[in-house]
């Protein structure tokens, strides 16, 4: 929860990714198909920064790619997958089943509570549920606590203060002020509870413009900000672009085998930088994803 006071934090992706130390606890911003910090995920994989303990709510290809790259030691997410559309996350599932990572599954509300404990400087907070489920057994760090007023026994959870929060925003300034659109998911809590926030933005803008749009994460939480156009692709970053359903489908199909997942990583991650990634996806395709605005029909057709 340190504050970051440099007036200009604009960095390149390599420099920003290198702020993440191997072995650290990393919070992944966004969720499911929206605003995943994909440019930073790709940057971490290119830099070979691993042994990560990732935390978050419901996620998809960000965790799946890190799992495929062997970058994750502990996965403390509440969900990893592609919902009913593309189903289970193939690389994450394979790594969990083969014991290559520890799937320390958590719950969205438990993570929220633990972040709040960290924000408030408390040594624990109680959660209302979890007791009686098998999720509790995955977490030796949890305990039980009896309320001094009612005698009710709660599951007690420790504070969660990640070493770094990775967040992607549509727009931010050089100092690190970030505007994002709802759902913010846990990004505000991650930014407040973590030692630092590392941000990518589709576009750097003057502070006045970011302030007018609404600053959701303030500059003093942010250690570095990188301009990474389409940096959330293949997830969405509204109001810029919708998620790339076809690309997600192609990854899920490729990742059904370990070899296919490695082929994808070579082609889309380790074999290219972010400019090269955008060229591979193609300017026409990226432009197509911004076309959701044209009409409800155009928006719907993106997902057919």
């Amino acid at each position: 929860m340190a504050v970051h006071l440099a007036p200009d934090k604009l960095a390149d992706l390599e420099t920003a990714a290198a702020l993440v130390q191997p072995g650290s606890t990393v919070a992944l911003g966004g969720g499911l198909s929206a605003r995943l910090p994909m440019a930073l995920v790709r940057g971490l994989i290119r830099a070979g920064i691993g042994d990560l303990h990732v935390v978050g709510s419901a996620h998809s290809i960000d965790v799946d790619l890190l799992a495929a790259a062997g970058s994750i030691t502990v996965c403390e997410e509440s969900y990893v997958g592609y919902e009913q559309d593309h189903g289970l996350a193939p690389a994450f599932r394979r790594a969990a089943q083969e014991g290559l990572l520890e799937a320390r599954e958590s719950c969205c509300d438990t993570i929220l509570t633990q972040l709040r404990a960290a924000e408030m400087g408390l040594s624990f907070l109680p959660v209302h549920g979890v007791k009686g489920t098998d999720i509790e057994g995955l977490h030796p760090e949890y305990s039980r606590v009896t309320c001094p007023f009612t005698g009710h026994e709660y599951v007690a959870v420790p504070p969660l203060a990640p070493d770094a929060a990775l967040v992607h925003a549509p727009v931010g300034d050089r100092q690190g002020n970030l505007h994002i659109e709802q759902p913010y998911v846990l990004d505000e809590r991650f930014a407040a509870a973590s030692a630092m926030t590392i941000a990518t933005v589709d576009r750097i803008a003057p502070t006045d413009e970011v302030a007018a749009a609404g600053i959701v994460i303030p500059h003093y939480r942010v250690a570095a900000v990188v301009e990474a156009p389409f940096g959330a692709h293949p997830s969405s970053c509204y109001p810029g672009y919708a998620y790339d359903r076809a690309h997600l489908a192609s990854w899920v199909a490729a990742a059904r085998t370990a070899g296919g997942a490695q082929d994808y990583l070579r082609r889309y991650v380790t074999g290219v930088d972010e400019d090269g990634y955008r060229q591979l996806i193609g300017a026409d395709r990226l432009e197509h994803l911004t076309g959701y605005r044209a009409s409800d029909q155009a928006w719907m057709e993106l997902f057919r």
Binding site: Y79, A103, C107, C108, D109, H128, G129, T133, P183, V185
Partner: protein, 269 residues
Amino acid sequence: MTYRFGLDELFVVELARTIRDAEVVFHGFGSPCATVAMHLAKRTHAPHALLIEGATYAVNPSPSFIAPSSNDHSLKQGSAYSMRFEEAFDMSIRGDMDLMFLSGIQIDPYGNTNVTAVGGMPHPKVKLGGGGGGCNMSATIGRLTLWTTNHRSGRCLVGECDFITDIGHRTPEGTRSALGYPGGGPDTLVTELGVFDYPEGRARLRRLFPDVTLAEAKAVTGFEFAVAADLAPVQTPSRHQIDLVRAIDPLGVRRREFRPAELERSFSL
């Protein structure tokens, strides 16, 4: 002229029937049938319900279509206000949400669900996606509508879950009241074969889909269940309800929950 409709449409109508008017209703992510059911209820018998959309937390949206991913911004269309993540969870945890939809890869007779791992942890045979917010929310929300589209496999309704992610009426640690949970727990379970309720906290068959027999349902259920004395086919939907399902979900995202053979089932009015 005969009006034909599919199981997916009838299934959504059955889910929608579990929503009452003027309730606060929430569905989780990855729940297209529940999403469509919420909008159907809002446009028919529950116009005053407060809908909270799965992963966008948009309040009372009226999207022009259902997107295949539940936190796509298209699902916020028509909503004047979106809750923050914290607001939605706080509301559910303090008990101000009346109804939530939950599914399970395994569901036991007490309505405990497993969405974490087939074969249990730490050595899963199949690592499933995970429970999202369910293991807290299932403790405190007023009541739960469970659903599955996988009853016929024989692997879903099981005597005992390999792992309990979300809380039903009783876990090995005790009943909901012994655990001190204020929420009412599972109220209804809708499967592609029929509809169960939970008198005494244990699943009881209440309705069957018109093309399903009691023997078929028993053969694929991994536990003994009581059968309601007035066991009957599910209520026939109206043409208006079916038309609305199609209008709400023109992409047919709801159909992705079903095996192809189930989508062959059709009914008529």
